[in-house]
C-alpha cells in the first residue's frame, strides 16, 4: 500500500516498540523507544494520543475537526499518520 492509499477506515495504534507518555518537565508528549525519545509537537500529540486502538482514522479526523472547530483536517492527519507508519511509530489494524 502506498502512502497516498492509506485506508481511513483502518485503526491506528501505537506500535509495541514505542510508549507514548506525557513528560511534565518538558511540558510535552514524547514517544519513548529503546534508548531513544521523540519529542512531539502539539499537533502530533493531538493525533497520536488518539491512536488508542479503538478509533479509526476517520473517527480521529472527525474528533479533531470538532475539537479544533475546523474542517478539512483529513489530508494533514493522513499525511502525518503515513509518516508515523513509515517511522514504525504506529501500526494499522
Amino acid at each position: 500500500m502506498s502512502d497516498s492509499e492509506i485506508d481511513t477506515a483502518s485503526i491506528p495504534v501505537i506500535a509495541p516498540l514505542f510508549r507514548l507518555q506525557f513528560e511534565k518537565v518538558q511540558d510535552s508528549w514524547v514517544l519513548l523507544y529503546p534508548e531513544g525519545m521523540v519529542k512531539l509537537n502539539p499537533s502530533a500529540s493531538e493525533i497520536l494520543t488518539r491512536c488508542d486502538g479503538r478509533q479509526s482514522i476517520d473517527d480521529i479526523v472527525t474528533e479533531l475537526e470538532s475539537a479544533c472547530q475546523q474542517t478539512g483536517l483529513a489530508a494533514d492527519v493522513i499525511d502525518f499518520l503515513s509518516d508515523a507508519l513509515k517511522q514504525q511509530w504506529i501500526t494499522l489494524k
Binding site: Q21, E23, E35
Partner: protein, 385 residues
C-alpha cells in the same frame, strides 16, 4: 552509546536541560573478559557498590529532574540480585527501562520477574556470531547461552536490540553477524566499532580495522540493509579515527547524559573519571540536582566557554563541540584541546599514526603487547602502570 538517538534541547552555555538519559552502572563485576570493555581499566580499585536504597533514591531524584530513559548496565547488571526491584521502581516512576546485558544470568525465572517488574527493553551484546571467535573474544563459553537468552527475549515480547562490538578480528565476518541477528528476530542491530577508550585503548593495535576492512563491511551492511529493510534496522558505526571531524560526544558534556558508577560517582560519561584535575561528586554526598546543575565536574566542559584554539574560533564548533574530552586527554594530553580526530587539530598526526599501523597486514602488525583481557588481575596491573 554514542549513537543513542536521544533528542536534546539546544546546548546553552548557561542553563543545561534535564539529564534525559540516566545510565545506572550497577556493578563493575562481570563474568566476561572482553578485550574492548568500556569499564575503566582501573575498575578493580572501585569495587564498592551502592545499596538498593541508594539506587532507588538516585532513580527518584533523577526522574524528578526529568530523566526519562534509564539504562541498567555494568559490568553485568544481572549480577545484582536487586535488579528486578530497581527495574520495578524505575518503571513505576515512568522511566523507559533498558537492560544492557551480556545475557549471563538471564534465565527463565529472572526474565519473568523482569517482565513483571515492567522492563521495557533488553539490549543483548554479542561478541561475534561464530562460536570459536565469540569465546575467544569474550574469553568464556557464552555463545550457546546468548542464543537461549535471545529466545527468552522474544518469548517475553521485548523489543530486542543486538549489539555487537566490531573490530579488526570480527569485521570480516559481519555478514554472519547480520544473518544471526535476523535469525534471532532482532528488531535492531548495532554494529558499533570499538571506541578506543579503556580496555580497547590498551588493545588498540589488535582492534583497529584497516580502511579496506571498513569499506567492505559498509558495503556488506548496505546490501543487507536493503534486502531486509522491513525486518531489521542496522546501524553501523565507523571508528571515529577514520572520520575527519570528531563526534559530538555524549551530545554535549553534561547536556543529556548522566552516568552513575557502581560506587555512586556521578559522571558526564562513563569514562570521564580518567580526566585529571576534576572532582566528580558522589550521590552519597549530594543530590542529583546539585550534581547536575552546580558541580564543577559537570560544569567544566559544558557549552563552549572552555574551548581553546582551534575550536574557539572554529566555524564548526556547534556541530561537534570540540569532540570528546577523554579522547583529547588520551591523545593530546589536554582535556580542553580539540579532539585529535579533527583534521584541524595540531595532534591529528597521533591518530594518523595509529591508522597507518592499522593498514599493515596482520603478520606485520607487531602489536606493542599481547591482547589484554579484562579481569581484576589485569586491572590491578594496569592501575599501577
Amino acid at each position: 552509546m554514542d549513537n543513542a538517538e536521544v533528542t536534546s534541547p539546544d546546548t546553552a552555555d548557561i542553563t543545561p536541560g534535564p539529564p534525559l538519559w540516566l545510565l545506572a552502572e550497577l556493578t563493575y563485576r562481570c563474568p566476561l573478559h572482553c578485550a574492548f570493555c568500556f569499564n575503566p581499566v582501573d575498575y578493580a580499585r572501585h569495587e564498592s557498590e551502592l545499596d538498593t536504597d541508594s539506587w532507588i533514591r538516585v532513580l527518584q531524584q533523577a526522574r524528578a529532574l526529568g530523566s526519562v530513559q534509564c539504562g541498567f548496565s555494568g559490568g553485568e547488571p544481572m549480577l545484582r540480585d536487586d535488579l528486578e526491584e530497581l527495574v520495578g521502581e524505575a518503571r513505576s516512576l515512568g522511566y523507559y527501562t533498558n537492560l544492557l546485558t551480556s545475557g549471563v544470568g538471564l534465565n527463565e525465572k529472572r526474565a519473568r520477574a523482569l517482565k513483571d517488574a515492567g522492563l521495557d527493553h533488553v539490549q543483548l551484546s554479542f561478541q561475534d556470531s561464530t562460536r570459536e571467535l565469540n569465546d575467544f573474544l569474550s574469553n568464556t563459553k557464552t555463545w550457546k547461552l546468548k542464543n537461549q537468552v535471545a529466545s527468552l527475549i522474544k518469548e517475553h515480547e521485548w523489543p530486542m536490540v543486538l549489539n555487537c562490538v566490531i573490530h579488526r578480528m570480527n569485521i570480516d565476518y559481519i555478514d554472519k553477524i547480520i544473518e544471526m541477528a535476523i535469525d534471532l528476530g532482532a528488531e535492531h542491530l548495532e554494529l558499533a566499532n570499538a571506541q578506543y577508550y579503556s580496555w580497547a585503548r590498551v588493545n588498540r593495535d589488535h582492534l583497529l580495522p584497516s580502511k579496506e576492512q571498513i569499506v567492505r563491511a559498509e558495503e556488506v551492511t548496505a546490501r543487507y540493509r536493503e534486502k531486509y529493510a522491513e525486518r531489521i534496522r542496522i546501524i553501523f558505526v565507523v571508528p571515529d579515527y577514520y572520520e575527519s571531524r570528531p563526534k559530538k560526544c555524549m551530545n554535549g558534556w553534561g547536556n543529556v547524559f548522566l552516568t552513575i558508577t557502581p560506587d555512586g560517582t556521578a559522571l558526564p560519561c562513563h569514562t570521564a573519571r580518567m580526566l585529571p584535575g576534576l572532582e566528580f561528586p558522589s550521590v552519597a554526598d549530594h543530590s542529583v540536582e546539585s550534581i547536575w546543575y552546580e558541580s564543577e565536574g559537570f560544569n567544566r566542559y559544558r557549552g563552549k566557554g572552555w574551548m581553546k584554539e582551534p575550536c574557539r574560533s572554529c566555524s564548526e564548533q556547534d556541530d561537534d563541540l570540540g569532540g570528546c574530552r577523554c579522547q583529547a586527554f588520551m591523545l593530546a594530553g589536554d582535556p580542553a584541546a580539540a579532539d585529535p580526530v579533527c583534521t584541524k587539530s595540531p595532534q591529528r598526526a597521533v591518530v594518523d599514526a595509529a591508522l597507518d599501523k592499522a593498514q599493515l597486514p596482520d603478520a606485520e602488525l607487531a602489536p606493542s603487547q599481547p591482547l589484554v583481557f579484562r579481569d581484576p588481575k589485569a586491572s590491578r596491573q594496569l592501575s599501577r602502570d
